[in-house]
Each structure stands twice: as C-alpha cells, then as structure tokens.
Amino acid sequence: MNEIIIEDYSKKIKNTEVLSHVNLRLEGGNVYGLKGKNGSGKTMLMRAISGLIKGSQGKIIINGEVLGKDISFPRSIGVLIENPSFIGGYTGFQNLKVLADIQKRIDDTRIRNVLKQVGLDPQDKRTFRKYSLGMKQRLGIAAAVMEYPDIVILDEPINALDESGALRVREILKEQKDNGAICIIACHDTEELEYLSDVIIDIQDGVIVGER
C-alpha cells in the first residue's frame, strides 16, 4: 500500500517558518483535505511532498524511500499546484502527449480518455492559449491524474470550474482513491472539501493543529 510518512518536517524561508514540525502519516486509498486560511502552509506542504522544495529539518518518506536522499521526487506523482501552466501554442492533447512521452507509461487512448473524463474534447484544435480558465483547470487535472499516479496532489481543483466540472472532480478523485492512490487536496470551499475528503487536516501558520 502507498504510504507517506512526514517526520518532524520544517521549512524556513527568509527567517519565516512556513512549515513547522509537521508529523503526518498518509495512506493510500484515502483523500486528505488540507484546511486552512490563505498563507497557512497548505500549498507549501504540497510542494514539500512533491519534492519541489527542500526541507530545513525533518524528512518525508514515500513508500520507504526518503525524499531528497534516496529519491529526488516521488516515483509516481501527479500534481496541480497553483495555476495550470502548459505550452501556449499546443492543443490540450499535444500538451498531455509531451508529458506522457517522458515516462511512456500510457498511450494515446488513455490521454484521449482522460481528456473526455475531465470534460475536454480530445479533437479540439484550439491551443492552450485560447482555453478558458475552466478549460485550463480541467487540463491541469487531466495532467495530474492521467498516469494513474500513486500520489495525486490537487491544489484548489474546483477553482474556475462549473457545477458539472466539480462533479467530474469528485468522480476522478473516487477513481484515484479506488486505485489506491494517496489523494491530497486543498480547497477554499469548506463544504466541498469535507465532502471530498476522508480525512481533514487542519493547518495554521505552518503547524498541523488537527486531524479528523
């Protein structure tokens, strides 16, 4: 089973502790919702688990391997952190194809299916530059989940999405969860977050204050 263990992890940036002594154990097949105000450290915790930032103290162990020591990044991860950014001159399909070609874990059919799953047309000739905000968000989600990753991190996944888009996110998260992935999400809509998550992690000023 997939597992993330965070042990006494802290991150300091310019004398400000943005994450402070975080201790967590995350298991596959669950959706973890990060709850907290703006600037509480939700996105920073997501970045830390992704391996995008280096901790000042402590360690993150992913499936028995220490992040930053045994591995630079988790072996199988899909992320949507901040605004989805892709190549402006490429279509949605082309963008996903470029990413999929790096690891070659999936074929074109899977890319088409995941685009349909998020509500985008795989045949759409419009380039990413011409996408609406909601379409960009959908493509970002598609990129995060297309390779059936062991860890799925979605920061504000329902941002800019309409009702049908939000419903699709629910379905996608359920699918990923059923596949045994560890899903970590952050969302400002508390109701939606509580609905989507199996476990809610409260975070305040970089400190985990509760887990329920």
């Binding site: 940036i13 600037g39 450290g41 970045r47 995008l52 930032i53 591995i71 630079s72 991860i77």
Partner: protein
C-alpha cells in the same frame, strides 16, 4: 546503466526540441536584426562611396566584421566620450532575454510538470544547458541568415567573383567605414573564423553563467548584472571581462595590447564548465516555487 544514460539523453533532447519548437517564432528577431545590420552596412558603404569612389565593393566578410567589430580600446584620458557599441549590446541583450525568459519562467510553468516526471534534477538541468547551446547556435545562425538576405538584396555592392572574395576583408572599408586604422596581423581566414566562433562561444559561457546565477537571484537582477558585464567589458580592455571576446577590435591581432583569442576560448570554456557544475549543485538545492508571489 547504458539504458539509463540513453533514456536521460533522450529526455535532454526532448527538452531541447520542446524549447526550440515552442519559441520558434522568436527567432525572427535575430533574423530581422541581421537584415537591419546588413542594410546599415550597405547604407554606410553607399554613403562613403559618394566621397571615395574606390569604396564601393563590400563582401560578406566585411559584413561579419561590421556586426562584430565592437569598439576600439576606450582611453579615458583622451577626453574621448565613452559610448557602448550598440550592436554588441543588442546581441547580448537578445541572447540574455531569450535564455532568462526560458529557464526562469519554465520552472514556474510547464517545466515544473516535466521536472516531476524526469525524477532527476541533474538531467533537467543538463537538458536546459543543452537547449541553451542549441538555442544560441540557432540565434547566431538566424543573424547570419539575415545578413545573407541583406547581402543578396544589395548584390550590386558586392564583388562576386568567387567564394574566396565573398569571405575577404577589404582594407579600405576596414579603415574608412569602421574607422580602424590599425593593421591586421592575422590572416583573413583566421580573423573571420574568430569573428564567427568567439561571439558564439562567449554567448554560451555568459548564458550558462546567467542560468547559474538565476538559481540564486531573480532573473531581472541577473539581467542587470549581465548588462553590467557587457558595459564594463566595453570600458575595460582586459582579459577577465568576457565581453571583450565578442568584439573583433579588441583582439591582439588588431590592437597589440588587446586580448588573445586562445585565452578567450579557454576562459569561455572554463566559465561554461564551472557554471554547469555549480548550477547543477545550486539547482539540486533550489526550491521550485513562484519567486515574485507569496511563499505560501
């Protein structure tokens, strides 16, 4: 092990391909710049030929010299006003804008998604360095293409008696149009080879330095620092200021006190290798997150 290396190499090549393909439109800029420089050369030639009829014919070699001439040594006590050579500065700015824009922004955009799939920071970094080399070669290639366009459009000003003539340097142009009175002590072939090779190699070294510094400082600050190096290079004719190796008038085959191209090549290679090496270490510790925004 062999498979892993082959896979990493393919990832690097893919990054080069993507970097070039997604920014191909921007290569019109050096092409247009080359054309403008070519036209300026012929305009000056036409202007001079009104007064001195023997100054009429130019060659592609003269055009290369015109673009990469830079400036002669600046001597402050001669009451001479210091003016940075515009062409030299524009070429440097052009290269720096491309490189800075690509690496710094990429990590906040699509590059982040690639990096997570590469699983290896070193491969990503080396891919960027490789892209940088290819990009600079294309940049200069487009600039030369622009010069060629201008040359063929002004064919009446050229002596086209053979390929050897195209690559010759006319002393009368050198003396009257470029205002350089010092004799050239090297063969024309060597001079042109240096004029073509050294700006490219120096640009690569400066770009690696730029990418490396961007791991520590914001891209705009690094840009200012590079501009500083360019201006100081124009001010001081010293071996340690890399910009000197991009200006033909600063070489010791024109100015006896000038810089030596062999030493320049060695320094460029050293700077490039060090920047790749140090950049890799810095990138290994680099926090990938937006710089201008809030941290959390």
């Amino acid at each position: 092990m062999k498979n892993r290396l082959f896979y990493d190499w393919k990832l690097m090549l893919a990054q080069v391909h993507l970097g070039i393909r997604s920014h191909w439109k921007w290569y019109c800029v050096p092409l247009l710049f080359g054309m403008v420089q070519g036209y300026l050369f012929f305009w000056q030639l036409a202007l001079w030929s009104q007064y001195t009829p023997e100054i009429f014919y130019g060659s592609f070699g003269d055009m290369i010299m015109y673009v990469f001439r830079g400036m002669e040594e600046y001597v402050p006590h001669n009451m001479q006003q210091f003016q940075v050579p515009v062409t030299y500065l524009l070429i440097n700015i052009g290269v720096a804008v491309f490189v800075g824009n690509q690496t710094a922004r990429d990590l906040e955009d699509f590059g982040k998604l690639q990096l997570l799939r590469y699983h290896n920071r070193t491969v990503w970094w080396l891919g960027k360095c490789l892209w940088c080399v290819v990009h600079i070669l294309i940049f200069y290639g487009m600039l030369y293409m622009g010069l060629l366009f201008a040359m063929f459009a002004n064919i009446r000003h050229l002596e086209l008696s053979g390929i050897r003539d195209i690559f010759q340097i006319h002393t009368y142009i050198y003396n009257n149009v470029f205002y350089c009175q010092m004799p050239m002590t090297n063969s024309v072939g060597t001079v042109l080879l240096i004029a073509v090779l050294m700006p490219m190699v120096t640009s690569i070294a400066l770009s690696f330095l730029q990418m490396c510094l961007e791991m520590l400082l914001s891209p705009s600050v690094v840009m200012v620092l590079l501009m500083g190096i360019d201006v100081l290079s124009a001010f001081f004719m010293k071996w340690c200021w890399l910009g000197n190796y991009m200006m033909i008038f600063r070489y010791n085959f024109i100015n006896p006190n000038g810089v030596c191209w062999q030493l320049g090549l060695e320094i460029d290679v050293c700077v490039a290798v060090l920047a790749i090496f140090i950049g890799n270490i810095l990138f290994g510790r680099y926090d990938v997150m937006p710089r201008m925004k809030e941290y959390v």
